[in-house]
């Protein structure tokens, strides 16, 4: 296509496609299960024959899931907001990018080591990374506010009053919309925390899946979808204060915090073993070299392979699914079906989806790639589909495939790319975490270190993961800048 390659966006897309195909040669993508389709069939059978009464703790698990999400997101948004006000300081920006580059599950694994099964573990695991994300997005929203009203204020107006009257009201709607969106993400995060032992939905979902009780698992998934799909019905301005006040009481009784464990964690556990054992700096160098060669480098390599493949497959899935909900294609019933399908895709946390597919297809990178692509493709497909609906076409515009290829895709392609690059870092963060499920990305080595009670190693590897995420974030920003792609922060 000599003509199309004149566009930088097309060139970048082809480059990424080539990289992903290259990655596929190095990656292990086989299906190892003997009867993968039979198992998949059983799973869907479970979904259509849900068993809502097998486990009486289900209601409690749902309550905990909601409570952890509420408290975590509320704390995250309050502190995120305060940090957003100070976002002009480099130190604050760096701090925020560090805390948000560490995934919720890693935070949970860290806090589990010293808070144990105390509710604070789950609350902080959500609140901390969310705080970093909120700070960034809130500050972006605040920056776009019309500055004139604050200039017209009388001299000597305090900073707080000035923000309260002249800035925040202008972007309040946007802040609200974004916070509500993050609450939905918080519900997903909260559910997934169950996989490492917190008393949320994931805890029971993991048990049911591990035992092949698909009807039980199906019931939990259906309830979770309902919970998310009905957010607009039960989350109202009037009821919000009630939820916020009640949520902390619904976190469940964990175990008391033993503060000695906290100081032990910071003064002993995370001190590199050679220093603790008095092997000195030479020992430390060997120790670092060992981690780098046996864990960090293979982990980074696999994380990058998986991320690049998942990113491109996400793009392809987006382009496939967005017409399902676009007004430019199909009719009302097909669009309703499309919406339901996309809601299911984006409500299923990639971690859960990967777990399900791993159980069914056996361990390789394939389930992870597919899970990441389906979830993220669902999210971006929803946004692109919505945007494509608002395009006004001339009455005699082509229909069907020609309309798709000539009228719609060229018009949404830039924002599609912008959204895809925006999610690059998110995909990488998830890729790393999927290692806990047994794929050899960085999370696998973090999990191994924690299983061996070597928190010093775990922390080094989490740090490596964070740096990789920050690097990808910078690269994505650079590419978006070069291609002049703009995104709304609310995606």
């Amino acid at each position: 296509m000599p003509f199309m390659s004149a566009y930088p966006t097309v060139r970048v897309s082809l480059l990424f496609l080539a990289i992903a195909i290259g990655c596929a040669f190095f990656a292990d993508l086989s299906i190892t299960a003997a009867n993968p389709w039979k198992d998949l069939g059983n799973f869907f059978l479970g979904l259509v024959t849900p068993d809502f009464f097998s486990y009486q703790g289900l209601a409690t698990a749902l309550l905990r899931t909601v409570a952890f999400a509420f408290v975590g997101v509320a704390l995250g948004s309050v502190f995120g907001f305060l940090l957003a006000l100070a976002f002009k300081w480099t130190a604050v920006r760096v701090f925020c990018s560090v805390i948000r580059s560490v995934h919720e599950l890693f935070w949970a694994l860290i806090f589990l080591q010293f808070f144990g099964f105390h509710p604070l573990t789950g609350v902080l695991a959500i609140a901390i990374p969310y705080c970093g994300i909120f700070a960034k997005v809130y500050s972006e929203i605040l920056d776009e506010v019309d500055p004139e009203p604050s200039r017209a204020l009388p001299r000597g107006t305090g900073v707080v009053s000035s923000y309260l009257y002249a800035r925040i009201p202008q972007c309040w709607e946007q802040i609200k919309t974004y916070t509500a969106y993050r609450l939905e993400c918080g519900l997903r995060s909260s559910a997934v925390l169950g996989f490492v032992g917190l008393p949320t939905l994931g805890f029971y979902l993991e048990s049911s899946f591990a035992q092949g009780l698909y009807s039980e698992a199906g019931a939990m998934l259906i309830l979770f979808y309902l919970l998310i799909a009905t957010i607009p019905l039960w989350l109202r301005r009037q009821t919000l204060p009630f939820y916020l006040a009640a949520a902390p009481f619904c976190l469940g009784d964990g175990f008391p915090i033993v503060w000695g464990n906290v100081s032990r964690f910071f003064t002993e556990d995370i001190i590199p073993a050679p220093l603790r054992q008095g092997d000195g700096w030479a020992g430390l160098a060997d120790w670092f070299a060992d981690i780098a060669v046996t864990e960090a480098l293979p982990g980074i390599w696999n994380t990058l392979l998986l991320t690049q493949m998942a990113l491109v497959l996400t793009g392809l899935i987006t382009l496939l699914v967005f017409p399902l909900i676009s007004r430019q294609f199909g009719n009302r019933p097909t669009r309703v079906g499309g919406h339901v399908f996309l809601v299911i895709l984006r409500s299923t946390p990639e971690y859960m989806l990967a777990y399900i597919l791993l159980q069914i297809w056996g361990p390789s990178m394939l389930p992870a790639v597919v899970a990441l692509a389906l979830h993220n493709g669902g999210i971006i497909g929803h946004l692109v589909g919505r945007q494509s609906s608002s395009i006004g076409l001339r009455p005699d515009a082509a229909r069907g495939l020609s309309r798709y290829g000539f009228e719609i895709v060229p018009r949404v392609y830039r924002s599609f790319l912008a959204l895809l690059f925006y999610r690059w870092e998110i995909i990488m963060r998830e890729t790393a975490i999927l290692g806990i499920l047994g794929i050899h990305t960085l999370g696998f080595f973090v999990d191994s270190a924690i299983q061996n009670i070597q928190f010093d190693r775990a922390l080094i590897l989490i740090g490596v993961t964070a740096l990789l995420n920050i690097g990808i974030d910078k690269l994505s920003r650079f590419i978006r800048g070069r291609l002049a792609l703009q995104t709304l922060p609310t995606c």
Partner: protein, 216 residues
Amino acid sequence: MSVIELSNLSASFGGRRVLGPLSLTVADGERVALVGRSGAGKSTLLKLAWQQCGSDIALVPQDLGLVPALPVFHNVYMGRLNQRSSWYNALSLVRPFKKDRAEVCEVLQALAISDKQWVPLASLSGGQRQRVAIGRAIYQGASALIADEPVSALDGPMANRVMELLSERFRSALIALHDVDLALRYCNRIVGISDGVIALDEPSNRLSTADILPLY
């Protein structure tokens, strides 16, 4: 004693000088009308004046500086944010105090929009918004005013009524006006700006409409 004192002021935009050098002093009790063609540098001059003057002064910028998401009351109340504690202001945002409600209502009555006190700003017409911005300036209770075309969207009788009100409430003022009659009637000094410099500076009782028109 002077309220505004600008000396050797100049401003450039994109390497091109748009204002100055000029000096201008507004004494206490003086109400100065800035007249001149649009693009002559009046708005720039007012902006710089606002940046350099003290705290006892109110501002009505050309784009009004209102917050569309808040109701009329709060937009007016903002005139006194600097006189109250942050807590008081925060509470007023949720539930305004009775005393403030009465005071704001009085200002709005004078501007003939007291029925709009709780209406979201977004639903007001251009002229009504302009009066809200003026209300904010009046409510501030400062002795001096800087205003950029404050009555441009008001019809004749309303413009007169508002200008009258402004002269009652502010001892001193620096107001950009394109309506020459209003300038002569409600200001006691006329300063004409042309190509960024002062082309005319006379007490208004020595001038007639015809003297000013060449500036346009």
